[in-house]
Symmetry: C2
Subunit: 190 residues, 2 copies
């Protein structure tokens, strides 16, 4: 997605050759017009599939998920972040390891909001090692739902989350795949 890649090159901050900060348009300040374009792209690219629900995780997944949900006319459920081992009743749970912060957190979704008949589109902002995406897949599958697609805004192609999930058979569409960030320069995968 050209508009997104241009914006990453213009406003993304390379913190290390592994960490990209996009706080000015996605993770702290949000550009609603960019998110609207991102949602259009997701709804176009996943238009062959019949989803009835979007699953994301707070907080940065919410904006693109809700805008995509509006275009597809389906509800959005966002997983909540908890401290590890917090007992939350009647929920599906999974643990996410953040490599950036080197810490674990649990995410949970009420059993009320995942049904066996659900055909779910997962949306998230970043895919790196895939820990958050795998946790969302796990939560959907704990509820007996089918994950029909995973839409990612920015995939770090030099980390192995996308590769692993594709090998497991999940249909992933990433709007920008970063091949490398070495030498303070972002290279996208074509």
């Amino acid at each position: 997605m050209k508009l997104l890649k241009t914006r990453i090159l213009k406003d993304g901050e390379i913190i290390t050759d592994q960490i990209l900060r996009v706080d000015s348009f996605l993770n702290h300040q949000i550009d609603p017009e960019l998110i609207d374009e991102i949602a259009s792209e997701f709804s176009y690219k996943f238009s062959d599939n019949k989803f009835n629900k979007i699953l994301t995780v707070e907080s940065s997944g919410i904006a693109p998920a809700v805008m995509t949900g509006l275009k597809l006319s389906i509800p959005v459920v966002f997983a909540k972040k908890n401290k590890p081992s917090t007992i939350v009743e009647n929920t599906y749970n999974a643990t996410v390891h953040s490599y950036t912060k080197n810490s674990d957190y649990d995410i949970s979704v009420s059993t009320k909001y995942i049904k066996r008949s659900d055909h779910i589109l997962i949306i998230d902002d970043f895919l790196a090692n895939g820990s958050a995406a795998r946790a969302l897949v796990s939560i959907a599958e704990q509820g007996g739902a089918k994950v029909g697609g995973i839409g990612i805004i920015i995939e770090k192609g030099f980390q192995n989350g996308g590769k692993l999930l594709r090998e497991m058979g999940y249909h992933i569409i990433s709007l920008a795949v970063i091949e490398s960030m070495t030498g303070n320069k972002i290279q996208f995968r074509e």
Copy 2:
């Protein structure tokens, strides 16, 4: 806002005579079409004002803030929740007391995203005792910005946050004001 009140009556769960749960369309599962209508209402009701930025707080404020931002063509900044006394560099900070959970948390916004020239619209899902709204006002004002309006989806009119903020001179528009929830029955303010 009739559509919202109807939805609250249909799907809101009265937990106690102080606590309303709207997890099925706002705080856990989100109905994007309802949020779009809410955003239309905010952009219409605040159309006389010239805002250049929306300020909200993660997570439930993000969806209505971003949809309103799209309609007003202005960016959204969401305050991040931290553990109390977490030192985050180059941020404006304020403490929120959650009466529902009887605990405190800090919220912060990078100094990069609040400017002295900003004319800010605050958007949030609930207004009860007003602790979160006052914290957002404080953050905006720490940055020298002007708070020109506060848009709330559901105000608990029987708690005093709205009254206090109006007495302080803030322009608050709440799309549904609940007068009472006693006897397991929701009464709206006309």
